[in-house]
Amino acid sequence: MSQRLRKQAVELDKNFRYEISQKIGAKSLLKCIQCGVCSSGCTVTEYVDLQPHRIVASCLLGLKEEVLSSQAIWTCSLCHRCTERCPKNVDYSFILALLRSMAAQEGRIPKEYSSSVITILENGFVIPYSEGMKKNIDKRRARLGLPEISGPNQNEIEFIYEETGLKELIKKTEVGK
């Protein structure tokens, strides 16, 4: 690992920290003091190639490629303990989500993430709800005396995917295939 992180100053992307910090909810990145509290309480700390405080340090240093290609940004149980406990109020769990979206822009999307995004686009729900599936679910609900589900207009969901650029990303990276 240390080998991989040994870089010349000229190879660093010094703007990477600002690329992140200007996004909604991510300004706090710049306040990190490298205390390591985030990593010590992290649920997945034994499973990642770069622990939380090292990801933050790498962002601040400008090690963009190392960060965006790390497996660590996708290995998170979303427990938010890092954000909760950081003495400097760094919102690490949110920053991690932003880093995932930056990696996604470059086409690096694990299928565990892309498949639910496609399911929501096609069904309005994160669980398939059409044709045979829908019939079974509706029957089961009726048996329990539960009201019918009046789901969203699919065109509206698709429109939001389009306007926010997610539709294009799906097309570009062919994750739907």
């Binding site: 995932r100 539960l146 789901g151 429109f159 939001i160 995917y161």
Partner: protein, 293 residues
């Protein structure tokens, strides 16, 4: 009291018996749930927020706009939905510029998100003093002989600067509800550990977390009648993984996992046959036996 009832996906489409238990509890307590026609997935916080935060914010704001039009606060019964909708409302509330940007998109499909309603989780409501009183008055079957372990899960309480819900390291609200039903709750080391459901890439993470918690509960001196959770993901994660681990390791793990409204419904007098408590991997046979004798 009226609420815009946000169903989400997992409960209505996969675990409708949990929805039924919640509706039963509300009708006994006099809480009116109004259906949110046209609501979509919250959208779920793991994948969508990760791939494009604006898509996540806009779909979330669209759901909130539906409730705003109804003029009611939103009631959620899944911690994932709660996290998404509450975070969307807090982030957009703190950033008017971004809210305007999201509204520019929403206006084109005739929605507007103003930001003047609250997002609640059912636990938030039930643990308010007036509802605890109401629960106490409505008790049909006090759970005096029962001991439960509570699983708070993560999204309900953290990050506290957004959720503003309970103490992030020492929460009490679910324990308080269960005590009001007459039951005892225990403290244990792994009480605040995550269920691991959201760690998508490595199954082993979830398995380890479930095994740790269940092993601790099994080894306690006291018998625990059930693990009580408030999110469908946590419920199914513990229920399914517990069975898998027992099969793999040969360890006897027989702690049933119940959804808070299920046990509330029992205490409030809903018939056991109506709750389908046996529709899970770890059957709560002992608990049912104890309830019926």
């Amino acid at each position: 009291m009226d609420f815009a009832f946000f169903l989400g996906c997992t409960i209505p489409l996969k675990q409708p018996n949990l929805e039924k238990a919640f509706r039963d509890v509300c009708s006994i307590l006099g809480i009116n749930l109004k259906e949110m026609a046209g609501a979509s997935c919250c959208p779920e916080p793991v994948s969508l927020q990760s791939l494009n935060i604006d898509t996540w914010l806009t779909l979330g704001a669209r759901n909130l706009a539906i409730a705003e039009k109804m003029g009611m606060d939103v009631m959620t019964i899944c911690s994932g939905c709660y996290e998404t909708l509450k975070t969307v409302s807090v982030l957009l509330g703190e950033d008017p510029g971004h809210k305007a940007k999201i509204n520019d998109i929403l206006k084109k499909i005739k929605y507007e998100y103003r930001g003047d309603i609250n997002v609640l989780h059912m636990v938030e409501l039930f643990s308010q003093p007036q509802w605890l009183d109401k629960i106490k008055q409505s008790l049909v079957k006090p759970l005096d002989d029962f001991t439960f372990a509570v699983h708070y899960g993560c999204h309900l309480i953290r990050p506290s600067k957004i959720m503003r819900f309970d103490h992030p390291e020492k929460p009490e609200r679910i324990d308080t509800i269960l005590k009001t039903l007459g039951a005892r709750t225990i403290n244990f080391a792994t009480k605040l550990e995550c269920c691991g459901y959201c760690a998508r890439l490595q199954d082993e993470i979830g398995e380890k977390l479930v095994e740790d918690k269940m092993t601790e509960l099994c080894e306690l001196e006291e018998d625990v009648d059930a693990l009580i959770a408030v999110c469908p993901a946590c419920v199914s994660q513990y229920d399914r993984k517990e069975k898998l681990i027992a099969r793999r390791t040969g360890k006897e793990m027989n702690i049933p996992v119940l959804y808070l409204p299920e046990i509330m419904a029992v205490a409030l007098g809903v018939a056991l046959e109506d709750l389908n408590l046996t529709q899970r991997s770890v059957k709560p046979d002992k608990l049912i036996e104890k309830l019926t004798t």
